[in-house]
Amino acid sequence: MEKWRMTHRFIRHSSKLLFDRRSNLNSHNIVPSPGFAFHRYFRLEECNFRRCFGSVATVIERNASFSTLNSDDVSYFKELLGEKSVVEDEDVLLTANTDWMRKYQGSSKLLLQPKTTHEVSQILKYCNSRCLPVVPQGGNTGLVGGSVPVFDEVIINMGSMNNIISLDKVSGILVCEAGCILENLISFLDNHGFIMPLDLGAKGSCQIGGNVSTNAGGLRLVRYGSLHGTVLGLEAVLANGDVIDMLGTLRKDNTGYDLKHLFIGSEGSLGIVTKVSILTPPKLSSVNLAFLACEDYFSCQKLLVEAKRKLGDILSAFEFLDNQSMDLVLNHLEGARNPLPSSMHNFYVLIETTGSDESYDKEKLEAFLLSSMEGGLISDGVLAQDINQASSFWRIREGLPEALMKAGAVYKYDLSIPVEKMYDLVDEMRIRMGQTARVISYGHLGDGNLHLNISAPQYDDKILALIEPYVYEWTSEHKGSISAEHGLGLMKANKIFYSKTPETVQVMGSIKKLLDPKGILNPYKVLPQSLSSYH
């Protein structure tokens, strides 16, 4: 039986996700997708240590107060970590210097792989004293240029801190090191009857420390809430090497300021997360998934309202994509199959339910879907009959970032917008872009999170000028957020004011100054340049 399962899997899933191949830093086998032109934001030879962002000229200069790496530094790290954990290999560095989209590239000459909190602490203590800037790096799947160096920052890769420390089988509280890959945690928990409260397309590579540091949302947020709720405790190392042990495993603990929240979503700018304690829900046996077609955006919205009301207790995901997204996936993702091939529809919605009673849940979902169909909200749909069908439906939604990569250049925007206004922006962008680029939109409708992607054959400043600052201004006007879940990173550090008041940003700056006075942690990211008085 196993054998059959294996062959079958091979046939249906012969195309592994692109980022799966990249999951191991030590394997140098990045396979550039065909037809994808490597985009360089700048020409290193011409403007060393100077980054020019297209025509919207934001120039970042290397912070002059930082020192540069020398051979004594390297010897120190070798002494501290051992030869093997100090990587100078060019191929490995090229991978680690380049982000998942191949859009941002740094020029770091050194990657460190600490194995313990103590090692992280020693590294930071040393770097801080030497004023050497660092980038904490998890799975390097971040989408805002936050996980790669801007110039020559030392890369601190967390992949070797991948031990699971404990799982309390009564409460479901998992304690693990920051470098654990999300998918490994998912399968570890599966064996013990639990699930991770978050799931996202990058699960094969991204790490829990990266997820926490970006406060990743993902596909199950609508059910289990954000990491600010599920993360119970953290251990983090500050820039000066101090280890802050906040690794509580209590659901309730009101003693003073809850500092762990500062590290959830601060993108490695305040400290390096080394351990995480997280509340994991029990795995429920009955999971159902429907892939549906809607003819207009209003129906998607109404369907969401109805689903929340009528499936409330079992609803675990509500995702949407538009017809441009479907078209893109079918053309660029190997093995993708249209679940509703008889005609193209304007919108597609995935509704997942998770519960404990197979027949009750299925009946409930079926009844809901049939009544929605009779009511005209859904024009067609399929219900997965087995896990394999469910995976192939999910593949369409989860494979979108990969398909976009394969299609060429992509400008990504991750916006929180009140659900009823959300698609107006997409319509407006289509008019703005005209024939120059395709507007692909999908997202976590259940959370009011739109992923707006502008896909073009090549990166082109003219295209960028059509998008920015328009998208940010529009979002700000409609009281949205310019980063729903991906973070600000390098891409949007200077755009923070579109979503936060100057006073708020000022406080953030003070916190940064307090925890990282020399600014060595993930410099140039998250907070605007204007705020860092380092140069």
Binding site: E2, W4, H8, S359, L369, L383, Q385, D386, I387, N388
Partner: protein
């Protein structure tokens, strides 16, 4: 012409199989069950033939515990016209299933029977052959292509064999078992799920069909395969050759 299709309810192929602690079988409690993938392919082929106007009705048959009705509903939602459930709470082995099938064939008179080449739970790969044997009908196993000639009442079947394709020509009625590459089964659409709700599933027991389901087989023990030892990464071709010679003893 009617087509009869066997569909079996098995542990979902994507589920990691666990052997029961007492080694009497595999764990099926709280485990996702689905239609055997080869049976899905069998059903898809039957539906295609009906849609091409070469058959009038597709009857899905499932045997086993009451929950087989769920599997039959899936079959009906895919497009089968009606279902037959032979309820049996004790284990059924291929010969039992084949005997029951023979009785159902006598009742329904189909012109063609499709079965999956094997079920992914017990991997027996026997039922189709036994059904053909008991009925004395021609059989084509492991079909990767099926073409029906209604006039001549002949089915032409391609099978994947070592080194190429074998083409068989069978007089109807016949038994065909299906392989992976025959087709890609369709999904159950909402309108069809809705229609399936009013389709009939007729229930029998083996007793009603006069079939003795005592078995002359006994499963002694089910155990997990030995765990694979972790591999090692060799640093050079020489080391590889050395290991193949002195550790694996294969060269």
């Amino acid at each position: 012409m009617k087509i009869m299709v066997a569909i079996k309810r098995v542990v979902d192929y994507a589920v990691k199989i666990r052997v029961k602690p007492d080694k009497t079988g595999v764990e099926t409690n709280n485990v996702k069950m689905s239609m055997n993938p080869f049976c899905e392919i069998a059903l898809e082929e039957a539906l295609k033939i009906r849609e091409a106007g070469l058959a009038s009705e597709v009857i899905a048959v499932s045997m086993g515990p009451p929950q087989c009705v769920d599997t039959l509903r899936t079959g009906l939602a895919m497009g089968a016209d009606r279902g037959i459930h032979v309820e049996a709470t004790t284990g059924l082995y291929p010969l039992n299933v084949a005997k029951i099938f023979k009785r159902l064939v006598e009742l329904e008179n189909p012109g063609l029977i499709f079965l999956g080449k094997q079920a992914i739970d017990d991997d027996c790969n026997q039922t189709g052959q036994m059904v053909a044997g008991l009925l004395r009908w021609p059989q084509a196993t492991f079909a990767s292509k099926v073409v029906l000639d209604k006039e001549k009442q002949v089915a032409t079947v391609e099978r994947e064999v070592d080194g190429g394709l074998e083409t068989l020509s069978l007089d109807l009625p016949a038994v065909i078992t299906t392989d992976l590459r025959l087709n890609q089964p369709r999904y159950a659409t909402l309108p069809n799920i809705m229609k399936a709700k009013s389709k009939v599933i007729k229930k029998y027991t083996p007793q009603e069909l006069n079939v003795d389901i005592r078995s002359d087989l006994e499963v002694v023990q089910v155990t997990e395969p030995p765990k694979r030892k972790a591999g090692v990464i060799v640093s050079s071709v020489d080391e590889l050759i050395e290991k193949l010679k002195n550790e694996a003893h294969v060269i």
